[in-house]
């Protein structure tokens, strides 16, 4: 292979944030091992080798599809021993490719996404973000429309009615993890039924992610394609209430739990019940259904992606000011760095090292929030610096609305005791097969890892499809049993 640089890649590399550090990559592979896209597209995407060819100045990579397949989850950056910011490096090169009219890579990437990734159109909007590099938004939406949506519409066929395998799979939760597992299993010839507790399917795709990031009609379209494939989605079924778990075990041979993490943490401070105080997921869902209003000044408490989404949504609903208050400093803020930047560009303000003490109301409505200033203590044994409120630093922030976005965790109450729950209130699974401690029950997505990215949920769904398929081909077609403690494969102390 001859390394020719017909383009001046050196020059563009010199403008990138981590250019010097680019050369310090010692190819440990941690980025690729952490990457959910590399999981879903092992033949097409490897961030480590892509970075390697870029640092060699190989101009061919500018035309490659690979450059457009990074999903911006930043997992690589968080774990890289040299702190190389791969998403932003690839972004700079995407822009350079666009400036030099190398769009073939983008179109090739769309085809690969369409063929291999569940919810391809939604993924383009939420994960791949080609519009961040291509200024011409119309070109992007048209390309996604033509190459993905129209294509899907023409090419999705129902799998033949003679099922390849008589086994039946039940999936609890119609979010991206559940539905991508459904798609995978349906394509393999299984009969799949998805149970959804609420009245509309799609999980966070519909409820949590704001409309401006992901148009809901696209989600509906891609769910319809799933129905065309033969996946049945039963809404308004609350497992544990309207349908007992025992009944499920009678009728189905394997179970995939993908109920996500939609229970909101509460602050537990005075005034949380006042009018004008919202909890984040509730706020976002209502905003998506256009059932909510905000006043001029909105304060958002929290530092994750949900908090940032709430802030940006608040502005779009007409608020004049949206301010995020976060208890640690900018370095520790867990939200996606690029989204934080976009939020700030839109006018969202962020104040750091603040702890809310109590919410002050007037006539039952929110008027202000009393806060304390924090300082960061020394790193504890886990390496994180704890925020410690400084005594006597109380101050007030006047505000009309408060959105509490301090974290979400799964609801696992409906699961049988045989399914072990971790201290973080997530479902414990074998990290390779996603099998729980209960035979025949698998789990994946936010219910296992806590709030995560879309791409991770899709990767989990794919893995669930593989694992359940392997399980069903190996096991006999008996209905599931609820195993007593002490029986079954592994039974530990199930923690609730």
């Amino acid at each position: 292979m001859v390394y020719q640089t017909s383009l001046n890649l050196e020059k563009i590399l010199g403008q990138i944030l981590d250019f010097e550090k680019l050369k310090y990559c010692f190819e440990c592979g941690i980025c690729t091992a952490s990457c959910p896209v590399a999981d879903l597209l092992p033949e097409h995407y490897n961030p480590r080798t892509l970075l390697h060819s870029l640092s060699l100045g190989d101009a061919e990579t500018l035309k490659s599809a690979e450059l457009w397949l990074c999903a911006w989850c930043y997992r690589c950056y968080n774990r890289c021993p040299q702190s190389l910011c791969l998403p932003e490096i690839f972004q700079a090169l995407r822009k350079f490719a666009v400036e030099n009219d190398y769009l073939e890579g983008f179109y090739k990437a769309l085809k690969i996404i369409r063929e291999n990734i569940p919810f391809p159109a939604s993924s383009c909007y939420v994960c791949f973000h080609p519009e961040r590099a291509i200024d011409n938004k119309q070109l992007v939406t048209e390309a996604i429309q033509k190459d993905i949506i129209d294509y899907e519409a023409e090419n999705t066929k129902e799998v033949t009615s003679v099922k390849v395998n008589p086994a039946k799979v039940a999936i609890i939760g119609s979010g991206p993890a559940g539905l991508s597992a459904a798609q995978d299993l349906a394509k393999k010839g299984y009969s799949v039924t998805v149970f959804e507790a609420s009245s509309s399917s799609g999980g966070m795709l519909k409820k949590g992610i704001p409309e401006y990031r992901l148009p809901k009609k696209i989600v509906d379209f891609e769910i319809k394609c799933l129905n065309d494939l033969g996946v049945k989605i039963k809404t308004n079924v609350v497992i544990g209430k309207s349908l007992k778990v025992e009944k499920l075990f009678q009728d189905y041979n394997a179970l995939f739990v993908a109920t996500g993490a939609s229970k909101e943490r509460i602050l537990g401070i005075k005034g949380e019940e006042l009018t004008g105080v919202f909890h984040a997921l509730d706020f976002l869902e209502k905003a998506n259904m256009k059932e909510i209003e905000v006043s001029d000044k909105v304060t958002i408490i929290g530092g994750g992606d949900v908090a940032v989404d709430c802030a940006r949504t608040a502005l779009r609903l007409g608020a004049k000011e949206a301010t995020i208050i976060y208890r640690r400093s900018k370095e520790e803020m867990p939200a996606n760095p690029w989204e934080i930047k976009e939020a700030e560009d839109e006018g969202v303000k962020i104040d750091f090292l603040i702890t809310p003490k109590r919410i002050i109301g007037e006539n039952g409505k929110v008027a202000a929030i009393e806060c304390l200033k924090n300082e960061l203590s020394e790193a504890d044994e886990t390496g994180r610096r704890r925020p410690v409120p400084i005594q006597d630093t109380e101050f007030e922030i006047k505000t009309d609305n408060i959105i509490i976005a301090i974290g979400q965790f799964p609801n696992t109450a409906f699961l049988p005791e045989t399914v072990e729950i971790t201290e973080e209130r997530t479902v414990a699974v074998d990290p390779f097969t996603l099998e729980t401690t209960s035979l025949g029950i698998f789990a994946g997505g936010d219910v296992v890892v806590g709030p995560g990215s879309l791409m991770e949920a899709l990767a989990a769904g794919k893995q669930a499809g593989i694992s359940i398929d392997a399980y069903l081909r190996g096991a006999s077609l008996k209905p599931l049993k609820i195993y007593e403690k002490g029986q079954g494969r592994e039974n530990g102390n199930a923690k609730k």
Partner: protein, 827 residues
């Protein structure tokens, strides 16, 4: 060899010889040496001006010697590399030809010129001419000096009782010198005592160490002070006064190590030697082979001390060796040389959340592995999984933990981890051949003698090496097995591996208390946090401080062989000084003119060494030559011009400033750099070939404390565009704290410039260490932008304002002033 008599001073015919060195292509590559030599011949007093290929070589030196004799040269200037490298060389050359070695001066046209202006040969040549002119202007004013001779005590202090300290102590003691070996913990042995086997020989570590430890304990020339800490070091080379605090052991020398006390002690605490994997009692001996073989009481956990609540150990002690009233001891002694062998700490991987150390019981560190597999360790040599005490069926080693990473640990490579893991893998195979072993690595560094052989043996035994570090580890909550997920980078495939135990190959780091040792001895640290050697290639065990040497991991991560080698080297270096029995002190101390001295005491107040004694009654000040380090801070402080700093006189400094600002001063930065840090930092920029604008002219002083405000003002009065005063970082000053005076003086001058309406950004103050070449270059680049913006009016105004400041070489003779000064000091 007898040095011929040196020349006498003034009223002599000053005849200067200038030698411009090509240094192969190092200088000639960007500087036109012939042109510079030609230019030099036009300077006043220059009678010989030559250029040659390698001036420091034998033929080069011969040329100089011949010229001195043949042409009656009375001053020599060599324009070549940094004086920090070859000043001693050429000084010797002069001496051999009969010229006093203090009549020699160097112009640094390599590190400070040719190497940093590689792509601007014309400007580099012009700068080289300037630097030669500056050097000649000083040379003309140099005077011959005689060096004082100081006795060196034939005793040594070794700080640290690990294998390096032990080796150094034994070498010195065997040579016949008295050695004080001070060890912080209750026994010598250090890290090597904790290891099981050593690579590449697979020797039992404590078996090869114990005889040496025993030798130390028995040696008539070694005074072993364990459980002790050095609290103060004062003095200077050959004459260090050391204070040591011996912490109380509460057990006397009568202890026979019978261990009866251990059985009855009611207090159990974690055992530090066993890394918390086992416990010990409050009365204990660190490990079985401890030297001294004496128990001690841990005063933090013992409940009997001072409380009269428990005395069980005392009751059963046969030899009656327990003494609750032990208060320890503070002792003080004098030594001639010091060897720092304080060792290392290891990286704590708890901050690596993805690897689960301490969350998952079966994830251990490589040091914990040593204790587990050691027959004398907490499990009797059984490598068991902490979760269920069973032998693991599969073990995974993960390399580079805490090393080679900006984000997670330290950026350097820790030297020993690759070989340590290979050794560990072989140990497992030796005991349990069926255990499957994975090593997850980025590189395998098996560079030393016998290392590659050991690597091959490991592969032969079936150890599986996979290139790629796990991205995350999760745990099977029932079996406590560990799942590793990563990328096999050679196959470009993701791997998922289930193992019974994970060993994190942790890196080495400087000791947490190395800051204290640094302050004690005024040592410098390199950017990795280990102690800095005088020169990484040619003086690898010396520190910049005379008489203080380094050995072992205190200097950098290394294995046992290299530690021992370095220890013997340090002992040899120390022996040179002590064998000679004396050192000559550089003649750069101050001379105080009693006629001009008004006994104000300001000089004594700023002297970091308390080396000036002021007698107000006799109205005189006297310098204690042996205590003086030659920083020059007193000279800069004296208000009556009574102090002349030998070899760095006011007159010489003014001459250098004049020479530097002779032409195009408005395009130049005059930089005053201290010999130990900032000048060395500029040298390092040259060595690293970091390029910066050619507008700076560096004038060297020993310390930034020598730079009086009058010199800076004079530079501005001569029309200089900007002035840089650069010194060591505060608290790192080679002369303890002299740079605080520098800070004070520059701040005073800033205020003055503001008052006069001058642009004070033209005067910059920078703290640049010897390792900060990049910082020096960046500073010059920053100042270039400043001087590009300086207008002619600004320069004219500055010249006018500051020219009225007369050069104060005469004392304040007005009697009124004298009286008010005396009053101010309180008589």
């Amino acid at each position: 060899m007898e040095t011929p008599k040196s020349e006498s001073k003034s009223n002599e015919d000053i005849r200067v010889g200038v030698y411009v060195c090509h240094c192969g292509k190092n200088i000639a590559g960007s500087v036109n040496c012939e042109e510079v030599a030609k230019y030099a011949s036009t300077l006043p007093h220059v009678v010989v001006s030559k250029h040659n290929l390698y001036t420091c070589s034998d033929p080069g030196q011969e040329t100089i010697k011949k010229d001195i004799i043949k042409n009656g040269l009375t001053r020599v200037v060599v324009a070549s590399c940094t004086p920090r490298l070859h000043e001693p060389t050429f000084r010797r050359t002069c001496e051999e030809a009969g010229l006093n070695k203090y009549l020699f001066e160097m112009a640094n046209i390599r590190e400070h010129c040719s190497w940093v202006h590689l792509y601007e040969p014309e400007k580099a040549t012009e700068k080289a001419k300037d630097l030669v002119r500056i050097a000649v202007s000083k040379a003309i004013l140099l005077e011959p000096q005689e060096e004082a001779v100081v006795a060196v005590a034939r005793k040594a202090l070794v700080i640290g009782g690990g294998v390096a300290g032990i080796q150094a102590a034994l070498d010195l003691a065997d040579t016949g010198y008295k050695v004080y070996l001070v060890e912080k913990s209750p026994s010598i042995g250090g890290r090597m005592a904790q290891l099981d086997k050593t690579f590449p020989t697979m020797d039992c570590s404590i078996c090869i160490l114990a005889p040496k430890m025993s030798d130390v304990g028995k040696h008539p020339n070694i005074e072993l002070l364990t459980n002790s800490e050095v609290t103060e070091v004062s003095g200077y080379i050959g004459n260090f006064i050391v204070k040591v605090k011996k912490r109380p052991r509460y057990v006397t020398k009568d202890c026979t190590a019978c261990a009866d006390c251990v059985d009855v002690c009611p207090v159990e605490v974690p055992n530090e030697f066993e890394l918390g994997l086992a416990s010990r009692k409050a009365i204990y001996i660190p490990f079985a082979q401890s030297v001294p073989a004496r128990y001690l009481i841990d005063e933090k956990s013992c409940i009997g001390l001072g409380e009269n609540t428990c005395a069980r150990c005392k009751e059963v002690c046969g030899p009656n060796a327990i003494n609750f009233n032990d208060r320890g001891e503070e002792i003080s002694f004098e030594v001639g040389t010091i060897i720092v062998a304080t060792g290392l700490d290891v990286y704590d991987p708890i901050v690596l959340k993805e690897y689960g150390y301490l969350r998952f019981p079966n994830t251990i560190t490589s040091l914990e592995f040593e204790r587990l597999i050691n027959a004398g360790g907490p499990t009797g040599g059984q490598l068991v999984r902490p979760s269920d005490m069973s032998i693991p069926k599969t073990v995974a080693f993960i390399q580079c933990i805490g090393s080679r990473s900006e984000q997670k640990g330290n950026p350097y490579c820790s030297n020993v981890c690759c070989m340590n893991t290979i050794k560990d893998a072989l140990l497992i195979k030796e005991h349990w051949p069926d255990v499957k072993i994975y090593v997850f690595y980025v590189d395998i560094r098996s560079f030393g003698k016998g290392f590659e052989d050991l690597f091959r043996r490991a592969k032969k035994e079936g150890v599986i090496f996979i290139r790629g570090l796990p991205a995350e580890i999760s745990e099977d909550r029932k079996s406590h097995n560990l799942y590793l997920i990563g990328e096999n980078t050679l196959e470009k495939k993701k791997f998922k591996v289930n193992v019974g135990m994970v060993v994190l190959s942790i890196g080495l780091k400087p000791r947490d208390d190395s800051g204290a040792v640094q302050r004690l001895l005024r040592l410098s640290k390199t950017s990795d946090g280990f102690f800095m050697e005088a020169h990484p290639k040619l003086r690898p065990v010396d520190t910049p401080t005379g008489g203080v040497f380094l050995a072992g991991c205190a200097e950098a991560p290394k294995d046992i062989k290299d530690s021992v080698t370095q220890a013997s080297a340090a002992a040899a270096r120390a022996s040179i000084l002590m064998a000679e029995g004396s050192v000559t002190v550089e003649a750069i101390t101050p001379f105080i003119d009693s006629e001009k001295c008004i006994a104000c005491g300001l000089c004594a107040s700023v002297c970091p060494y308390n080396a000036i004694i002021v007698d107000k009654k006799k109205r005189e000040a006297e310098v204690v030559e042996a205590a003086c380090a030659g920083c020059g801070t007193c000279g800069a402080e004296c208000p009556s011009g009574a102090i002349e700093m030998r070899h760095f006189t006011d007159e010489q400094l003014y001459a250098q400033i004049d020479a530097a600002t002779q032409e195009n001063a408005d395009k130049k930065i005059i930089a005053f750099c201290c010999n130990w840090c900032s000048y060395a930092g500029a040298d390092f920029a040259g060595v690293s070939r970091i390029q910066y604008p050619p507008s700076v002219r560096i004038i060297r002083t020993m310390c930034s404390g020598r730079v009086a405000t009058k010199f800076v003002e004079h530079a501005f009065a001569r029309g200089a565009a900007a002035v840089l005063v650069a010194g060591c970082h505060l608290n790192d000053c080679h002369y303890i704290n002299a740079n605080y005076q520098t800070k004070r003086r520059v701040e005073k001058l800033w205020k003055k410039m503001e008052r006069l309406g001058l642009d004070k950004s033209r005067l910059q103050l920078a703290w640049i260490s010897a390792a900060e070449g990049q910082k020096f270059a960046s500073k010059i680049k920053q100042m270039q932008e400043i001087i590009d913006g300086v207008t002619d009016e600004e320069i004219k105004k500055t010249v006018e304002c500051l020219s009225s400041t007369k050069r104060k070489t005469a004392p304040i003779t007005l009697n009124d002033n004298q009286k008010s000064l005396e009053k101010a000091i309180g008589g």
